[in-house]
Amino acid sequence: MNKEGTLGLIFLCTGIYGLVLSIQLSMGTWKEPGPGGFPACLSFLLCICGVLGFVGARGKSKGKPRIDRRLASRNLAPPLKIVMVTLGFILSLDKAGYLVASTLYMFVLLFWISRYKWWLSILLALGLGTASWYFFGKVLAVQLPKGVWNLY
């Protein structure tokens, strides 16, 4: 499938999702339009755009670049790693506290993704984690989570 086809499919799926949920809401009347009318119209339009995009892409697929799946999988690795590590940071933030979570997070990013040496990654992670904790927590007075140990 080419890029246009993929886009059309995304629009179509989003439109169907929106349509299914919005028709469960009240449409109201023309005098008092309900909460379901506007999202239903948008979802319907999105479905049309999705169908047109998907069908049109299939018709024009000759000469259009297809998505090279092997290349796409290889290029997907760094962003996927970043997403996974970031997810881990978000899930551990409340329990571990910001200082610990951010330092670990930075270490993993710098070592695993940026490919710095382990000792440099530790140093940079400690420096950046502490500096960001100080800047946001103390200078800007943002209430950063302290974790279950509540050490700082």
Binding site: L7, F11, G28, L46, G53, I82, F136
Partner: protein, 497 residues
């Protein structure tokens, strides 16, 4: 005379030590952001929004706007010296700017670029100062039908001026759909929340913007490296010759006018204006074939135009509350967080915010003129910072910044989710910026539509009885039809070609 006395009052506010400092920080950060490829002015503004939470709204908008026009100055530095555009509006400057550097005239190109930017920026602020109150006065007479017409026109124009209409319009529709998540302001019913209390107020605008523009951009560019051949410029080489100065005058003033007019258009106005100015100068030149070999006109015009566009882009945003680009959309998000609603009532309800901001733009443009030329060596060396150390810092700033809004980890999931969203759409060659604008404009558009129908007891004639609403809706319809017709015509090349 009222405008001048209000402006003087604005200078009194802008020249306070605190606001001067914030203006300087904004301009400096904007110049840095402009130099670093991959971080555009919008991402630069979103990164600094959390820093503004403890500030007065006047100080916040002064700093954030400083980033916006500062990035236009900074973007030209690497375009001219390294043929690497710092941001999209400086792409066209690479053509002749870099050629001038190769000929040993890079300093002169930087000088003319800085002066042209200052003149274009200053003239557009004069326009902003006089036109915004007029537009705001006009806007106070607008009711829901007129506002519906304006929002509809803005979205259709955004779609028309996007890369491809049939990709941009669905993104706009999707953005409006995302904007419906949360409690419906009229009926109080929850829409698309699935019982999740964190979604009762909808998706946060800041996580959406930071995620799709900041995180999305990082996910897309991770691993890319830059060739960093830096041409060094000596201070004495900054001065242009008399001939170069004479040749720049016309392009600078034409660029100012063209940039100011194009700045009103939704979408990437500062990008369009720089390209339009280049095309215009090439058409007017006695020897157009020399463009691309290092003509000063190819630098003076575009750089002036993109700075002139930043001033006029603020006019619909401040006067009517309609952001026309992602940078103004993000500044609007920041103002909303501070409890200031841009629109027809901004000048009357918050005159200190508006006039302090206008005055600070004059000061900021002057700061940038003074800052950019002597510090060009430092700015250019910033590009040597490896992206593999920059991206973790930027992600962390995005995460902490988002967390500091509501101290809720759900916002971080939204940030990450929209980051993935932005990455996916970038890989599919689909611009995410219209979606963000639509998330912002969609809810007031729906509100205006429903209020119009409620006022008219369900009759659509209300949209045709008001002349302004009628003109806007018909124009939007014609523009939509034209775009559909143009897109469906067989064998038609895209408008970019």
């Amino acid at each position: 005379m009222d405008v001048l006395s209000d402006c003087l009052n604005g200078f009194r506010i802008a020249l306070s030590l605190n606001n001067l400092y914030l203006c300087f920080i904004g301009c400096l950060w904007g110049s840095i952001v402009g130099v670093l490829p991959g971080i555009g002015p919008t991402a630069g503004i979103t990164l600094l929004i959390p820093v503004t939470f403890g500030l007065h709204p006047t100080g916040a908008i002064i700093m954030l706007a400083g980033i916006y026009y500062g990035a236009m100055y900074g973007g030209s530095t690497t375009s001219i010296l390294m043929k690497i555009p710092g941001e999209a509006a400086s792409v066209v400057t690479c053509i002749d700017g870099y050629q001038m550097t190769l000929k040993g005239r890079g300093g002169a190109a930087l000088f003319i670029s800085a002066w042209g930017s200052w003149i274009g920026g200053t003239l557009s602020i004069v326009g902003l100062m006089f036109l915004t109150p007029v537009l705001a006065d006009f806007g106070t007479n607008f009711g829901p039908p007129e506002m519906f017409g304006i929002y509809l026109m803005a979205l259709i124009l955004l779609g028309s001026l996007g890369r491809e209409f049939f990709k941009t319009m669905p993104m706009i529709i999707m953005g409006m759909l995302i904007g419906t998540v949360g409690v419906d302001a009229i009926s109080g019913v929850f829409r698309f929340t699935h019982g999740n209390k964190d979604l009762f107020d909808g998706f946060g605008l800041l996580p959406i913007a930071m995620g799709s523009l900041g995180i999305g951009e990082i996910l897309s560019t991770t691993g890319e490296s830059m060739v960093t051949i830096v041409h060094k410029i000596k201070f004495r080489e900054l001065l242009p010759t008399r001939e170069e100065l004479r040749a720049s005058v016309g392009p600078i003033f034409r660029g100012s006018g063209l940039g100011f007019i194009i700045g009103f258009l939704p979408g990437a106005a500062h990008v369009f204006s720089s390209f339009a100015s280049y095309v215009l100068e090439k058409r007017l030149a006695k020897r157009p074939k020399e463009f691309g070999t290092g003509r000063i006109e190819g630098v003076a015009g575009p750089e002036t135009a993109n700075n002139a566009a930043t001033g006029s882009a603020m006019i619909p945003f401040l006067g009517l509350g309609v952001p026309t680009g992602t940078a103004t959309a993000v500044i609007m998000i920041a103002l909303l967080i501070h409890g200031v609603q841009p629109g027809p009532l901004l000048i009357s309800e918050h005159p200190d915010v508006f006039w302090g901001f206008v005055a600070s733009m004059y000061i900021g443009n002057l700061i940038l003129l003074i800052l950019n030329l002597p510090l060009v060596g430092i700015f250019v060396n910033l590009i040597r910072i490896p992206s593999r150390i920059l991206f973790p810092i930027i992600i962390l700033i995005c995460l902490v910044g988002t967390y500091s809004i509501n101290f809720n980890t759900f916002d971080l999931f939204v940030l990450l989710g929209f980051g993935v969203f932005g990455y996916v759409f970038k890989k599919l060659e689909c611009d995410i910026a219209p979606l963000i604008l639509a998330v912002l404009i969609g809810p007031p558009l729906e509100m205006a539509f429903r209020q119009s129908l409620m006022r008219s007891a369900g009759s659509f004639s209300i949209f045709f009885e008001k002349p302004i609403a009628l003109v806007l809706i018909i124009s939007s319809g014609l523009l939509l039809a034209w775009n559909i017709f143009r897109g469906l015509r067989p064998g038609k090349a895209s408008w970019e070609k």
